[in-house]
């Protein structure tokens, strides 16, 4: 449903992505993994449409992003950034209601249906009790769950009962996509696990298509069903987790010797770093 075809992108003279292709099937859970500076975040921005590739194209549901209005993209695809800071004191419910933006006309005000959808989204992420709190007073993990709730409210069907000038019956028929940029990087262990569990649950229950960038191999192994391995802006390998997550690929990506085992309790692959490649560690 979401596909990047031979995209090249750079900031100024510095090319960050070289002819990268990614194919995300509907309902899939794709991890984009690689070391810092490998181009993960940039690739996610291209997939989200907030940056335009200098060569190649990104296609969502068969339509190039460049030819799709911003609001139309937003009804089909939501993005959760690594961190969210607000300059002013908005309540949690107000932040989640901002997700309804692409469903409303220029001067429309959220109706009861929008508030209902926002509440449902808060319930799905276990944050309904925070709805009247100030967003800026929440912990990092709570903030991340609220931002995910805003993404869910954004992807909820656009059948607002009140004066919604929505022109798209699309969101209800086509499956929606959720893009996560290192969703746990700024969190401590407890919130990392909590957020990971939430994302897994949403993928399973809502049938969302998920793309997640991360440098955390174990997080990727525990959530994704396919991986794209990125290094220096090029795809090194891609495929199902079990095929591509090997000691060889870990060495190639991170220059680290590692053991990759199937964890007896979870049945998922786990990566244990042993030391720097070349026997120095």
């Amino acid at each position: 449903m979401l596909r990047a075809a031979d995209v090249t992108f750079g900031y100024g003279d510095r090319i960050v992505l070289h002819d990268v292709s990614v194919d995300v099937p509907a309902g899939g859970f794709i991890g984009i993994i690689g070391p810092n500076g490998s181009g993960k975040t940039t690739l996610l921005r291209l997939l989200a449409g907030t940056r335009r590739p200098q060569r190649g194209s990104v296609v969502l549901d068969g339509i190039p992003l460049a030819a799709m209005p911003r609001a139309e993209i937003a009804r089909r695809m939501a993005v959760v950034p690594q961190e969210t800071h607000l300059a002013f004191d908005y309540t949690v419910l107000e932040v989640v209601l901002m997700g309804r933006y692409p469903h409303l006309g220029a001067f429309a005000i959220e109706g009861p249906r929008d508030i209902e959808l926002a509440r449902e989204a808060l319930t799905s992420t276990g944050t309904l009790s925070l709805q009247d709190r100030m967003f800026n007073t929440l912990s990092g993990g709570e903030k991340q769950r609220v931002v995910i709730a805003a993404a869910l409210a954004q992807l909820a069907p656009s059948v607002s009962s009140v004066s919604s000038a929505s022109s798209a019956p699309s969101a209800s028929s086509a499956p929606s996509a959720l893009l996560l940029d290192e969703p746990t990087a700024a969190l401590d262990l407890k919130y990392q696990l909590e957020t990971a569990a939430l994302v897994r649950d949403l993928h399973a229950r809502h049938g969302l298509t998920v793309v997640m960038s991360t440098h955390d191999l174990n997080l990727a192994a525990s959530l994704c069903n396919a991986l794209v391995l990125l290094k220096n802006g090029r795809v090194v390998q891609r495929g199902p987790v079990d095929d591509v997550l090997t000691p060889d690929s870990v060495r190639e990506l991170y220059e680290v010797d590692a053991e990759v085992m199937r964890h007896p309790a979870t049945g998922r692959l786990t990566v244990t770093p042993l030391g720097r490649a070349g026997g120095h560690g």
Binding site: G49, I73, F88, Y90, T91, M98, F107
Partner: protein, 338 residues
């Protein structure tokens, strides 16, 4: 418990009612305050001819235009402050502290001193030049803001503002050398921020700018909420970020230009009013913007009433009062933030 339903709509209606009421009360009471006592009954007494009715003359010729100027200038500066703050994601951004008011003042001074007589779409030279000046200052701020992707840091913002104010003040002093000596005193008062316009003409000429900027502000309320999330996040919510930013910069410049062409660079209204309004109604720009428009009007009328009476029969420029209140307020905000 039930705060659902048309929550925003109810709050908006309540805000309009309360803040609108305060603004109307200020406009009605404003002209009654002053060094000479006047009676409302005599002002509207049709049996006395206007030429002999000094109460009516004071009311309609001296005080009402001044009060309306206070309403217009206060309202424009307060809302321009809200828009700059939302746009730059920094509660310390205002037309005055960014140097935008000074740019507008320079434009207006050039037009007045050299007697420019061009006009465009019925808007005469002074407001036009004032708008051009604020737009130029805003272009510099915009350049600084976009050169750093994470919005404008408080440090850069304050330093840029100080620099721009010093720069434009120097140019204003330079232009003043070309002004008629007898004009100097009037110009000086105007540069401190003065609402003593003694005619309805400046209000009428600024009106088109006011209407256009308010129309754009109305469209901007939800985009400003989204911009709070950051540019990328706002865009993934479906906002055309570039268009919203440009609309915000131009409309806030228009508002500042209109305000300065009428009352000079009155300081600190754009920070005091939005801050108090946010404390009362929260951060949602759909509520904050209209509330600030009304409260800004009432606030400046009240400051002007103070300016007219505190040293009666002398009348101070209103900018002296707003600076005396706003300076310490700004410092308090700055200290509290760090």
């Amino acid at each position: 418990m039930d705060r659902t339903g048309a929550r925003v709509r109810q709050r908006l209606a309540l805000t309009m009612l309360v803040f609108g009421g305060v603004a109307v009360a200020a406009v009605v009471l404003g002209p009654l305050v002053g060094s000479t006592r006047i009676s409302l009954a005599r002002v509207f007494d049709r049996s006395i001819p206007f030429a002999e009715n000094t109460d009516a003359q004071i009311f309609f010729v001296a005080r009402l235009p001044r009060t309306l100027a206070g309403a217009l200038v206060g309202s424009m500066l307060a809302t321009a402050g809200v828009v700059f703050q939302g746009l730059l994601r920094n509660p310390l951004a205002t037309p005055f502290t960014l140097g935008v008011s000074a740019g507008a003042a320079l434009g207006a001074m050039l037009a007045i001193t050299f007697g420019w007589s061009l006009s465009w779409l019925g808007v005469p030279a002074a407001p036009l030049a004032s708008f051009a000046g604020s737009l130029m200052a805003v272009a510099i701020v915009y350049f600084l803001a976009t050169a750093r992707h994470r919005g404008l840091s408080t440090n850069v913002l304050l330093l840029a503002g100080v620099t721009m104010n010093a720069f434009f003040s120097a140019l204003i002093l330079f232009v003043q050398y070309f002004a008629d000596f007898s004009e100097t005193f009037r110009i000086l008062r105007w540069l401190m921020g003065d609402l003593d316009i003694s005619s309805y003409q400046p209000l009428v000429t600024a009106l088109p700018l006011v209407i256009v900027s308010f129309a754009v502000f109305a469209w901007l309320t939800r985009p400003l909420n989204l911009l709070n999330l950051g540019e990328d996040a706002a865009e993934t919510r479906g906002l055309d970020v570039l268009r919203a930013q440009r609309a915000a910069f131009v409309s806030a410049s228009l508002a500042t230009g209109a305000a300065v062409s009428v009352g000079g660079p009155v300081g600190f209204v754009g920070i005091i009013v939005p801050h108090l309004v946010r404390l009362l109604v929260g951060a949602d720009h759909r509520i904050v913007l209209p509330a600030s428009a009304f409260f800004g009007a009432a606030f400046l009328i009240a400051c002007d009433a103070l300016a007219r009476t505190i040293m009666s029969p002398l009348e101070l420029p209103v900018g002296v009062i707003t600076a005396l209140i706003g300076g310490p307020f700004f410092l308090w905000l700055l200290v509290r933030r760090t």
